[in-house]
Symmetry: D2
């Protein structure tokens, strides 16, 4: 029998922290060693989370500063931006999988622009690997820090990177229309997230200024070899989980939707989690709920010279905690799918 990886989760009182614990509970090589949530230190996970009622043996929530890092192999940062980097930058020993925004942007000035605070640990940015797993397999095994992408960028980049890399679409005029379940907004107490405000309703938010934009533009720009500007409009939909993006792209001269399909087919044929659907089948969030799977497809647009790429993920799994575990698996030489085998929950 092999020694388990001992993990600590910072911010286990948030949705991403909780979903990480949910997945870690059945990961055959993981031992949950410490769970922090400073505001709720001393409480059990069952007191903080309904779905851990059947798991009274989980470690009690503690203060982050009370964790003994000596015995921890990997720490998952599930804290708000800035707080995450501030705390993680002083931890020595464990490798880091960060789910906050803090290590995603390579440029500290861009970070300051979008997040309104100076980056707490800019010296660490160069060593952080942008952990869109399917495009980071070379770098992750040796990485000390994996920066897990935001949920919207995960979906957008899986849909766009293969097309931009192959020169099949213009990197300009990309229009991303996104729909997200409410868990993406976190468990904080905001009127906008009350049931009665959200149910039976839909609305856009963060129009033209959502913080996931620079991350999408950074990664697209890296492949395009120049600055890229995208249009991105997220909408809040009355569901707990799930994210769907409908992306309108301009085709490169002489290219068609069929060429895009072929590119996806080639790129994702052997991926365990990314699935090109049969021709004509529309992606839907219910295809991936609760799982690390991604479904995508491409359609001809009625406007000539354009195509519609559609992609769906579970924002808390592939868009957050599942991808974090996928990255951890690669960092520690484990099978990439370990602990992520659950099939989607439907209905």
């Amino acid at each position: 029998m092999t020694t388990p990886l001992r993990i600590a989760v910072l911010g286990a009182s948030g949705y991403t922290g909780a979903d990480l614990v949910r997945l870690a509970l059945t990961h055959p090589r993981v031992e949950i060693a410490a769970l922090s949530a400073n505001a709720k230190a001393g409480q059990t996970m069952a007191e903080v989370w309904p779905h851990f009622a059947p798991y009274p043996a989980l470690p009690r929530l503690c203060r982050a500063e009370d964790i003994d890092w000596a015995g921890i192999d990997v720490v998952f940062g599930c804290l708000p931006h800035a707080a995450s980097a501030e705390l993680l930058s002083v931890i020595e020993g464990p490798r880091i999988v960060d789910l906050s925004a803090d290590f995603r942007l390579k440029n500290a000035a861009t970070y300051a622009d979008w997040y309104g605070v100076a980056h707490p640990a800019p010296a660490l940015l160069p060593e952080a690997v942008y952990g869109l797993t399917e495009f980071a397999r070379d770098a992750l095994p040796a990485a000390r820090i994996a920066a897990c992408p935001g949920c919207y960028p995960t979906a957008a980049l899986l849909a766009l990177l293969p097309l931009v890399e192959a020169g099949l679409i213009s990197a300009d005029r990309i229009t991303i229309n996104a729909l997200s379940g409410v868990s993406g907004a976190g468990r904080g107490l905001k009127e906008a997230n009350l049931f009665a405000e959200v149910a039976e309703a839909v609305h856009p938010y963060g129009i033209g200024r959502h913080r996931h934009m620079p991350e999408i533009e950074q990664e697209l720009g890296r492949r395009a070899g120049r600055a890229v500007t995208v249009s991105f409009t997220p909408h809040l939909v009355p569901m707990n989980r799930g994210e769907l993006e409908t992306i309108i792209v301009d085709l490169a001269e002489g290219r068609s939707a069929a060429n895009l399909r072929a590119a996806f087919e080639a790129r994702y044929a052997d991926e365990p989690f990314v699935h090109l659907l049969p021709d004509g089948v529309a992606p839907a969030t219910r295809m991936v709920r609760g799982s690390n799977h991604v479904v995508l497809n491409v359609f001809a647009d009625r406007v000539p010279g354009r195509a519609i790429v559609i992609v769906a993920i579970d924002n808390l799994v592939k868009g957050s905690s599942g991808q974090a575990i996928q990255n951890m698996n690669l960092m520690f030489g484990l099978p990439e799918t370990m602990g992520l085998e659950q099939a989607p929950l439907f209905p």
Copy 2:
């Protein structure tokens, strides 16, 4: 006391028929004279509809052919396409407000293309007025037939017509991303509309081939003076009612989002039902639920030279039955808002 308008509703067992009855019940000048639904003839409305349980006095559902048209002033067609025109074309006497697709497209060949059947009454097309009320006030008073627009076209055209008319945007490259509640799909028994399929999920449908497209293109083309092709992608959202469209437009040379706002302000300042929201406020379906109101706004896009227009309606009211009554009011010289004063229901 004035004589009431006696109305008949064909297809009172569908959602649009039922919402028409809901509104008609409190219209001070309407008397509900006949309600048809051939498959449910003989049943009471309370047997067919839960929300009419408190209204046992409503007329029993009858077969359309059993209606005595002599005493009817206006007939509302709430039947499926083709069935509607077939039936309405042989009725003599009452004026017609049709909520089906049958009298919307001016070109019978286009109709046949999109609906897969020959038009049942092409001779009537020239006299039908396309009843987007705010743009049809001149024609409606004398019209014998009002063709109520589809729900998606209602929202799209209210958002786009003032901009196209004023030459503020390009009529090409219009990208409409639409979200709709489930009632838009009707009360027919389809697996796709079961609660467990729809709840906690979102997905696009009819990609590149939704039947509301030609209607949008016809009306835009009429103003643009040439054929127009739009991109239109509807999505099904887990809510009963409501429709929101996020429309990306290319600005005309030298124009900005502020110019679009000014155009809306000028055009809709005195409209009782169309409301330009304060600068920066995002439209949401919960602003109009159950009412005939429309809210819209415009935002700068991050991609230079473009703007984002967002509009929300209740698909069953302004998108269907409410607009039908608004049209009836104009056809009969009544105050336009009569019977449509209910404020939105929230939460």
Copy 3:
């Protein structure tokens, strides 16, 4: 033309205050003169409420102490308990319709027991009329203060009073199982009311200690002529509005469910808002959504000697703001149904 009633709403930033404004907007004899919400004073209703976006002309929210009571005919108290009585007790001039719990219990000691504070104005209790409209028509016209019942008691008492009064059931061993939409919990920021906590889930709360219990027991006891203890278990259901109670009663010797039906039939035949459904038809909240209607029915229980009474209301309308207006109508000699004619909204 008659002079309108000028109303003030204290606490217009809560759900009951907002629903009162929604209904008042179309009441033909009401003028909304003042709207208070101390924490949001200075804001427009459209800033505080999405559904008032189309109503920019509504009075701005003010501080309660800034209202000029001279010109106000009636004040609606939509404040939390204790705060309501405290404020209303010092207002002179307008008649009072209070939607809080403060004037419902006749015994100040019982109030202190259940609400944990001394009653702020016990001297006013004797003159307050318990405003379950259908059972208070004699007293309301002359009342200075109408105490509107809680939502759960409204449903329970409409279902039980006619049966207790006629001696058809035992006043002991009454078991009330209640289901409520989330709006009943108010718009306050509590984790328990977040969308992601409520959606796709159901749970009981306040088991054995919900504050609506003493109110039910007081009114039942008044009719039974002795102290009554009921079992009452409310559950939170993922919907915005609506309340349904399933009540198990012990039949008096020799009585049957059919006798209960007959009693309802006799008692409610002429009521505009209370509807006994046809034999065998189960009440459902969708029958009354957004309206002041009540539907109820009675069924034989499989356990001999018992019956099941089921009743559904909209908790914000008949359970709160609608009944408040119904009471106001009676207090001022207006037709009881005025301003409450809207049919239920379905779907």
Copy 4:
């Protein structure tokens, strides 16, 4: 490496069949050998089910009569009642885990009464083990047929059997109030299950005549040693999954809610799936969503001499497919929790 159990699922196009496949996919000792659905034979699971889109390698749906039973170890019956027994009674070879109602009632006459058809295979009834796993561990290892309980009886019996066995409550006057998600109604096309009929609404159904009643009464009667009649009222709640029962019981002379708690503590302390919550914590369906867990608790009723027992399960897992796998594990000598380790999904 050990040989896997080869399973066949009859009725894989229904919700229980699909949830069985979901769980079987990650069961380490199960191989999915055959999936039948006569009306959809020839289709892939991904064509029939959105959440199997990422699993194109699943066996294609076939006709039940085309399955080669030689190589099958266990067959899961997920067919409607009557159809299930008819088909299973002629299969030779595999052991049977039936999820229909056909082998639950021991008395063929009772079956005929409640299901309206003669039992298709009464000769098999004596050898079927009623598979409420926690109360059937002795019998399952040798059983050829396991009859999985209905979802409502599973919850009710786990809550009541320990109390009846210990004589702590009266077996008479048991009142069960039940709330269920919509998946319990199956995937059949019924108007009552459309999204727009169910969302934002709640209602009781099958009052006094739900088919799960005789099953509850049979098992309670078996322990009580005499005929038992229960009151059972199920309600439909707008959620996909989950079931919650609020049960009012009469305490035996001198007993209290604390005695009931102690009995649960003793009975369920070592159960892997049944969890008595800490004193005062109300069970909620979100505690168990998607998992095989059961949570329960007991509360004092305000009416003296009574107590309130509350229990929550996922109707498709512990209430159906999860318990089926739990039973299979015992029948084949596997660890009882194998393949059922997934933690609940929240939010």
